[in-house]
């Protein structure tokens, strides 16, 4: 009995001291995982995931506090990438956070706009230019299509227009296959 306690006590002292020392000395600062997750998120900054932007959502995923299927703009594609990165199982997009929509940009009806600047304040990427009491304009290539500027507009002059197909951005379609359904789509 005494030997047992002595032997174990000796071990415990050594280990405890070493571990305590290690824990303090080598605590890992920062989290590269967040950066990796953030790199996958589409940066629409729309908040549909339930977090105020993509970075906070990335932090939540890294901490294990959020599921990976809450970002509608990222779509199934994004979820697959997150699942790969984190080694989790794929889950289809959570319906309560919205649905995948074709990419679109905001357009301000210049006739109606009263120049209230409310949309400028709402836009997370500063894609709207204009000043108080002047007509505002959306800089289309900067607009992420987050729709955050729609609700604040007092005269409802902002609408979303889908960015159509042109010869430049046209994509070859998935070959029409009768036998092998698209792997990822059917899950």
């Amino acid at each position: 009995m005494l030997e047992a306690i002595l032997v174990m006590a000796f071990g415990a002292l050594v280990l405890g001291a070493a571990l305590g020392y290690a824990a303090v000395r080598f605590r890992v600062e920062g989290d590269p995982l967040v950066e990796k997750i953030d790199a996958i998120l589409p940066q629409t900054q729309c908040g549909q995931c339930g977090f105020p932007g993509c970075k906070p959502y990335a932090q939540a995923i890294a901490k294990g506090e959020a599921e990976i299927n809450q970002c509608p703009p990222g779509g199934e594609e994004g979820i697959h990438k997150l699942a790969d990165l984190l080694g989790r199982e794929f889950k289809s997009l959570s319906a309560e956070h919205g649905i995948e929509k074709p990419k679109s940009v905001a357009v301000i009806d210049e006739q109606v706009c009263i120049g209230c600047t409310l949309c400028i304040q709402a836009c997370p990427v500063d894609a709207i230019v204009g000043a108080a009491k002047q007509m505002h304009t959306v800089v289309a290539p900067l607009c992420t299509g987050c729709e955050l500027c729609l609700p604040p507009c007092p005269v409802d002059c902002i609408s979303m227009q889908s960015t159509g197909e042109s010869v430049e951005n046209w994509k070859w379609k998935y070959p029409v296959v009768k036998i092998n359904p698209a792997q990822r789509e059917s899950t």
Binding site: E3, A4, G11, L15, L19, A22, G87, E89, P181, Q183
Partner: protein, 194 residues
């Protein structure tokens, strides 16, 4: 000399930890989705398991047996292993940040690998001497790594296969593991040949 070779080869192929001894399955299933991570996990496990075998041999031979404390074996082994993992992390972080970047994330996962306790215990029951213990630990870990890497290779290909819906993911991975262990049964008897 050849007997040492047999210890290693036997542990790698004939009595493969995963397929024959059925140890270390959780990381085997969990960390084999990508080849890259499988290699990292394998390397980290190899290091830790070899260390663990050496350390547990010393503890068993010099502390437990002389004091007739064999009943503390499980306890002292596993606590030692947990500490080795954390200390390893400390050491490589200090000495080789590069290695730490590669292996760091796998180290905490290793302690969830029951092979890390199982192999040192097997060492005791197989009455290995110190060198044999080390080699057995090393061989088993190499066997684990081999299994993990081969499995990851297949899983990367399987990911694109037209597997029936309900079997996608873990289910087909299990069946694949079954077929792999079937294949490893082909090695049966090799360790008895003299």
């Amino acid at each position: 000399m050849t007997s040492y070779l047999f210890v290693v080869l036997g542990a790698v192929l004939v009595n493969n930890v995963v397929f024959v001894r059925i140890l270390g399955l959780c990381p085997f299933m969990g960390v084999s989705k990508k080849l890259e991570t499988a290699v990292g996990m394998g390397a980290a496990t190899t290091f830790v398991l070899t260390m663990a075998c050496g350390a547990s041999f010393v503890i068993d031979r010099w502390l437990l047996i002389p004091n007739q404390l064999e009943y503390l074996r499980t306890l002292s082994f596993i606590v030692t292993i947990a500490a080795i993992v954390q200390l390893t992390e400390l050491v490589i972080q200090k000495t080789s940040p590069l290695l730490h970047q590669v292996l760091g994330i796998y180290l905490p996962l290793i302690t969830t690998n029951c092979a890390v306790l199982g192999i040192p215990l097997l060492n005791v029951s197989l009455r290995h001497n110190f060198l044999e213990s080390l080699l057995f630990g090393f061989g088993s870990a190499v066997g684990f790594t081999l299994a993990l890497i081969l499995f990851a290779g297949i899983r990367e290909r399987l990911e694109a296969a037209d597997v029936p819906v309900h079997f996608r993911g873990t289910a087909i991975a299990m069946i694949t593991a079954g077929l792999m262990s079937l294949a490893f049964m082909g090695f049966a008897g090799l360790d008895k040949y003299k």
